[in-house]
Amino acid sequence: MMSDVHFEKGNFTVVGTKQPYVDAFDKVTGRTTYITDFSLPGMLHGKALRSPYPHARILSIDTSAAEKVPGIKCVITGKNIRQNKWGPVTKDEYLLAVDKVNFVGDEVAAVAGIDEEACEEALSKIKVEYEPLPAILTMHDAMKEGAPVIHEAFPRNVNHHFDIPRGDIESVFKNAYLVHEGEYETQLEYQAYIEPMGGVSTWDSKGNLTIYAGIQTPTWSRNDYAVALDMPVEKIRIVQQYFGGGFGAKLSQQVHPLGALIAKYAGQPVRFVLDRSEDFQCGLPRVPMYFRIKTAWDKNGKYLGKYTYILADNGAYASYGAPIALTAMYRIDIMYQVPVLRSVCDLVYTNKVPTGCFRGFGNTQMHLAHESHIDEVAEMLGISAQELRYRNLAVPGYKNPHGWKTNSCEIRQCIEKAVKKSDYDNKRKELAEENEKNDSIKRGIGLAGAVHVSGNRSFIKPFEGAGIILRMNEQGRVYVYSNEPDMGQGIRTTLSICVADGLKLDFDRICVPDPDTNVVPFGLGCFASRGTYMATGALHVAIEDMKGKLLNLASDLLSLPKEELELENGSVVSKNDKSKRATYAELAWKHVCDFPGQHILGIGHFTPAGVEYPDATKYNNISGGYAFGCDVAEVEVNTNTGEIKVSNIWAVHDVGQPINRLALEGQLQGGIAQGYGWAVMEHLKYNPDGKAANACFLDYQIPTAADIPNIDVDFADSFEWTTGFGAKSIGECATNPAAPAILNAIYNAIGIRFHNLPITSEKVFSALREKEKASKTVE
């Protein structure tokens, strides 16, 4: 379908430049209001009572004292409300627990009151009698004989078991020159957006629900919320507000339907916003994974085959765990040409916070494992890290064993450029020499490649793509209606740039309203790095549509043939005589008068060419725009203290045609910062009693201005020919290679390979002491 589409790069004037964000002025003056600033007339506050046990039966709940607290409008529990179990993949979670709680933080009851103080007081008066049950606190215990069962429908605590074979991997291992096997493990990482999750919900008397929130998937999440609330989807409206970061956490989330539920029983609008500690305990942090990777190679470094086993920790409820696990299993297979593959995965429940989407969607975890593994193999084969990759990289038009096919594919250019910018080869030599002389500080440099999709055709069978409606009002001002929301990544500006370029219009006459599901076209939203690729793909078509209409109107008005006309600075002008012109305002006014009331519309839709829903064996191309990248990291390790300083990171990414270089640089720098934090500092830990040990910013450290490496970013020369603007997406690929590049650099510095994240100073310190001990024993 549409596989012969091939756009050429246009003569862009605004696309590809550096443009300040269109919403920056209001943000920098404090004028922008977010969810936490939003209120409605007559609004109450909502709060939830959460389980203090990781696993317990609820014997009784007594709410009588709570109901008497002054200012309290309603108190609800799982037993006195209408609800269904819900979940984006597996319907396994109630809004309020009914018989059993499955993690510390599970919602047991909720209240609505005139302020947060009244709510807190009411919560303190709800008496819950629990019977604690044995809990599973590590994924390695989940499938053990006699392990407690968390969900009756999953007696072995396995939410999903996947096995994706492509060819006979065992015979590849038998005949290979080198077979290498390694184990790797990643930890719980919290998204740590600076605005906590929440929403404001209100119902009308006909049962129509409006949720004011910041949701990455506003239209699609309505389906999940309708299930949870046992109501028709069509009665749910989401009105997007500015929101303070998402990074994957703000897709379908318990907080929105639970807030709506409280509002329903309160009979008034309710604001339900998590406090930071709740957000830590009940967000949907990155799925921890254990990897066993076994690969086969010939003596020239040709990659012959790969076997992967993954154990993935879904926490108490499934959320998006299954597609995340799948992504970890095979997304990386479009970076290298590997003919024979098998990947097996068990996604298990534990009695901890439910895990979910976090920038990279499982692929980041796999990058950590795989890009470490490739460096291990390179050393065994005596081939440089980049050369081993060059010998196996995907190229444009490569079709892999899963049926995925690259279009633009500049991974080699990314690595070459990053190697050059960082002076990688010289530094490998120079640093080794320096390290010989310097006992206490050891320096090292390492690299890692990366791939991600721009949109993943695995979620909804009959739909993939995006739609855009452009509307020019009677003053000639253009509104862009898209289902791809801005969460800070800058798509509001990206779309504005495309319109400014395509319609030759000033930024102050372009407006991208926040999605309101009653208004915008149907769409999936911003996840799977789909925003820029899909929305600009559709926008290009919509702009052409509107352009054609403007030219026709001007041709009538000016009595000139259409071919003689072009767009220039908010007008249609004659190419031959620039004094013959009609402004958009004139044309737009003529249109609403000729067709009473009707604005000029530009309609665009985009389906990525050659992309199909996977079959039962998970075969078929899932993305039209695979994005690539390479990070090089330089580190210093203090061998006396174990302290790691990541001094520099150079990144070069293939995002096709850059739309806004300013935002792209920012996205890439921010993605790298998250990968860096994950690699060396961040870890949401659990105590033996099943409680999160560090659920606050004091104890859970994310990178600060003092920690962050110097980050140098650049982009490959590339154009993704499946869309008119040629752009692929940056969001998740930005995070994927940072951590493995850092690990490879640490190995280069001290000769110790770490296989478990995060690499803290304590870990480095003990590993160095062990290494010393071992070398003394040998002597």
């Binding site: 920098v28 404090g30 303070g244 930071r276 800070g488 300013l662 910062a673 990178p703 980050i711």
Partner: protein
């Protein structure tokens, strides 16, 4: 909770309001004065989104009790400029793209203003340590560093 009157100056305007003694300065600024530019990211003084000036020094307003602000002069993000012409720090943040979701931005801008008052021409080290109290999860700080340097140049008349 006991109620009392609070007299203080906010963005140059004297204010006299009824408060409860357990309210924080952030609460009063946001809920009583409608100054929503001061953001609450953690309520524990760790993220810095609620940073404002109190008597010329930055404080995390979520940790300051409103009663402690009696007689003080407060400047919030709304008071940094007239809302038409930006303060050089604000302008630099806009120009270099130091803002993504923008939720940390008001606090980050206030800390930058304070930093440039202490160190008009800051070293990289001074910038980094001057902003450690303000968390940003979107930008990776690189463009914020750029903004600080640009603002410093402009304020010193060097750019």
């Amino acid at each position: 909770m006991e109620a009392r009157e609070l007299n203080f100056t906010v963005n140059g305007k004297p204010q006299k309001i009824e408060i409860r003694t357990n309210w924080t300065l952030a609460q009063v600024l946001r809920d009583k004065l409608g100054l929503l530019g001061t953001k609450i990211g953690c309520g524990e003084g760790e993220c810095g989104a609620c940073t404002v000036f109190m008597n010329g020094k930055t404080v995390t307003s979520c940790l300051v009790l409103a009663v402690q602000a009696e007689g003080s002069e407060i400047i919030t993000i709304e008071g940094l400029s007239d809302g038409k012409t930006l303060h050089p720090v604000q302008q630099a943040f806009v120009d270099v793209g130091a803002i993504q979701c923008g939720y940390c931005t008001p606090g980050m801008v206030m800390s930058t203003v304070a930093l440039l008052q202490r160190h008009p021409d800051p070293t990289d080290e001074q910038i980094r340590y001057g902003l450690t109290g303000n968390l940003c999860r979107c930008t990776g700080y690189q463009k914020i560093f750029e903004a600080v340097k640009l603002a410093s140049k402009r304020i010193r008349g060097a750019a």
